[in-house]
Amino acid sequence: MAPKRTYTQEELVELIKQKDQDAFSYLYTNYSKALFGVVYAVVPDQEDAEDLLQILFVKIWKSIESYDSAKGRLYTWMLNMARNLAIDHTRSKHQRIKPKIQSVSDSVYELRNKTTENNASDFIGFNTLLNELKSDQKEIIDLIYYKGFTHEQASKELNMPLGTIKTKVRQAILLLKELTKKEILN
């Protein structure tokens, strides 16, 4: 579901810094699902990921003061936090965090059935996306987006030239943008 912005990012940050719970509620409504997706991509366990989501939002509330807009957008800040929390969790469980693209992809495919019962528009978007996004583009996006790999690290991990990685990321995101636009229009 695309966030219907009733706050600008600056307003949202400022209000939450002032401990405005309505603004925080808005933040949760608009970003919890996406951030859960990020956590779940690293910790593919429903319960653990839900616990982590709870921890994540409490952490966001507590540490919003340390968010500096000069260092990036709010979503990027939350994304980093979600990734780190999930990765720390896998480490604390002595799980190997060696990035397995396959597992991320698998989990994404696995979700198909689960998500269908959640949201029809998401399902449509999801289907379209999966059809249109080539599997190697997905691999790269998932690696960079969910696991925080740099383009260089992804290049090494996937044994692909850096230029190829860059191109594929751009193509993938252009596609995602198109899909998002369509979704909003719908």
Binding site: Q21, K33, A34, Y40, K71, R170, K181
Partner: protein, 265 residues
């Protein structure tokens, strides 16, 4: 670098994905100020990524609501932990209270010391005043006594029955005179030393009354007193008065060879 070049470079995607360096972040933000349209581009990329993550997110609305409730319960139970933040404030008030009490105590102590000093001073002044009052009373009493004595003398001297007897000098004191005022009815005797002096401090004048041819001790004459009228012992049936020079403190019997003044009644 043009706006399109920036978009084409893919740096905006990396900016949202959080894989840009801090230098690149500064660059992106500068360019966003330069070309405000880039902000729209950033938002579009962000929305695309949010959307993508949502699509692969198996979070059911019911579970999401439960988690949201838990999150809000936790941040609202934070008043417990934010109470620990309040404690320093309480501690502050507590400390301020202690400081105020201490200040009050010190002020009170200083005030007490000052007051005690003042009290001490006041007491000392009061003691001085009481002492001077006593002195004044004593002086008054002395004056009163003196007045009484004077009145007594005046009464005696103005009494018609009082006899004024001149004692004439003899031998070395031939040029000297003294007076005795004698009242036969009251038997009172006053000696008037006039200008009598005595150089030898070991000696003293002694008054004698001659009663039936025999000397009777009337007392020592004190020349140190201011009052030249000196009350002597009482006597009756006296024929004459005489003065001898005796050792200090007097003699039970007169040494006739030292007799220097004499007068008949």
């Amino acid at each position: 670098m043009s706006k399109n070049d920036i978009i084409e470079s893919g740096i905006l995607e990396r900016y949202i994905l959080g894989t840009t360096s801090s230098e690149e972040n500064v660059f992106v933000q500068q360019k966003c100020k330069e070309f405000p349209e880039l902000n729209l581009e950033l938002e579009a990329i962000e929305m695309a990524l949010v959307n993508y993550a949502e699509i692969s997110s198996p979070l059911k609305p019911a579970n999401s609501n439960k988690i949201k409730e838990k999150v809000f319960a936790e941040i609202n139970s934070k008043p417990n932990s934010s109470e620990t933040k309040v404690i320093p404030l309480n501690t502050l008030y507590y400390r301020m209270g202690i400081a105020a009490s201490a200040l009050l105590l010190i002020t009170s102590m200083v005030y007490n010391i000052i007051t005690r000093d003042e009290l001490k001073t006041t007491r000392e002044e009061l003691a001085k005043m009481q002492q001077s009052e006593t002195e004044m009373n004593d002086a008054m009493l002395a004056q009163k006594n003196e007045m009484t004595a004077m009145n007594e003398k005046m009464a005696m001297l103005t009494d018609p029955s009082t006899k004024n007897i001149t004692l004439n000098g003899m031998n070395s004191m031939a040029d000297k005179k003294a007076m005795v005022h004698f009242n036969p009815s009251t038997k009172e005797v006053y000696f008037n030393a006039r200008d009598m002096q005595l150089a030898d401090a070991t000696k003293q004048y002694q008054l004698w009354a001659i009663v039936d041819g025999k000397p009777v001790d009337m007392g020592m004459i004190d020349l140190t007193g201011k009052d030249i009228f000196q009350k002597m012992r009482t006597v009756a049936n006296v024929q004459a008065f005489a003065v001898t020079i005796e050792n200090k403190g007097g003699s039970p019997t007169p040494h006739l060879e030292t007799m220097c003044l004499m007068g008949n009644v």
